[in-house]
Symmetry: C2
Subunit: 228 residues, 2 copies
């Protein structure tokens, strides 16, 4: 029996790797898609390659998106803006928000899904930790799925392109607990905004990850430069 | 008084150049955006540069999208698929359809609009000549505008990102007539799918253009290799 296909947007971080584990567990043939958009934490692309190899995915594509760095507008793509170490996640739009990033990622994943014949796209967005990011909200995801279905062949044939966001309403601890039951290889992932070979342990992304492991009462298998 | 800003997606072809003329006429400060997606008719990128210079736009960005060529799936990005010379435009999805192209173009234009503070995006889609392209349908455009508004800062502030498609329901002859009244420099544009320095005059895109000028009872100022 031919398995259904899914495109998984894989950054190499904890959330997207958990998503990949969920898609594998659901029985999909996975087509992993990683974006090189000039992010300062490019080390995550190497993590994505290791994760894709671990899961022996059908195909792993790395799409170059230099334009996001050209236009800037985010601490993650503009070297003139520092990444935050506030430890505070509030409801303002953070400086790490990359303009329309999920919109662009999902659009390119839609093209990839259409070419390989995938019925679903997995995206590891989370509405709790990133409540200030407009493109992490459920209403955006639902709206996008509708637009993407209309934009492609599947929509003209009465079908639907499914956008799966299994982590949307989970806390970081719940994500880690779920991933651990699925044997997700967290030792291969990287989450640090600073993008050094060893995670800093103090940027907001590291703090969020460490807090998640602590709350899940699990040990984070990666090494940190600044042990807490 | 500060003028409003608009992003104009500019391929260098007849339709997008007319759109730029319309946006200029509406009084916008224009930020032109051209995509280099490995299209075989790359000569249109040179046309886009000339058109942008003609209109003295505020900024002209050329975004590289090599991934569309990597995944293929269209006669415009895959050298193994011939461009059509049938002279027949039917309601099947044509081989020149590039998977989710307008979805991707609009998504990147949304990021650009957010960074420069533009309130509108102009796209020269046409639902008559390209009725077989799912992403040229009005319901897709409306649905996308909704998703893009939700994805960006403007949506969180109660605003709307406007997606302007002034050519959507016009015939090619009507587009040319309108553009001519706006003094659109059609001599700088290129439409041929083959992408040679001189337009072939026989591919479906050349045929559509020539038919439009004939019906508008106007002279096409560009040169064709095969005069009809």
């Amino acid at each position: 029996m031919t398995k259904q296909k899914a495109v998984v947007i894989l950054s190499g971080g904890l959330d997207s790797t958990t998503c990949l584990g969920i898609a594998m567990d659901a029985g999909y043939d996975v087509y992993a898609l990683t974006f090189d958009y000039g992010q300062r934490h490019r080390v995550e692309i190497e993590s994505a390659k290791k994760v894709a190899a671990f899961y022996d995915v059908k195909q792993h594509q790395i799409a170059q998106l230099p334009f996001l760095r050209t236009i800037g507008g985010s601490a993650l793509t503009d070297d003139r803006i520092d990444v935050p170490h506030t430890g505070v996640v509030d409801h303002e739009i953070p400086v790490t928000y990359v303009p329309a990033r999920n919109l662009i990622f999902l659009s390119i994943a839609t093209a990839y899904a259409e070419v390989v014949g995938a019925e679903a796209i997995y995206l590891g967005v989370n509405a709790l930790d990133y409540s200030g990011y407009p493109d992490c909200r459920e209403e955006f995801i639902d709206s996008f799925a509708h637009a993407a279905t209309l934009a492609t062949k599947v929509g003209t044939m009465g079908g639907t392109l499914h956008v799966m966001t299994p982590l949307l309403h989970l806390t970081k601890a719940e994500i880690i607990t779920l991933g651990t039951t699925l044997a997700v290889p967290y030792e291969l992932t990287s989450s640090c905004y600073e993008g050094e070979a060893v995670a800093c342990g103090v940027c907001d992304s590291c703090r969020l990850r460490l807090k998640g492991f602590a709350e899940a009462m699990l040990q984070d298998p990666i090494t940190y430069a600044h042990a807490r």
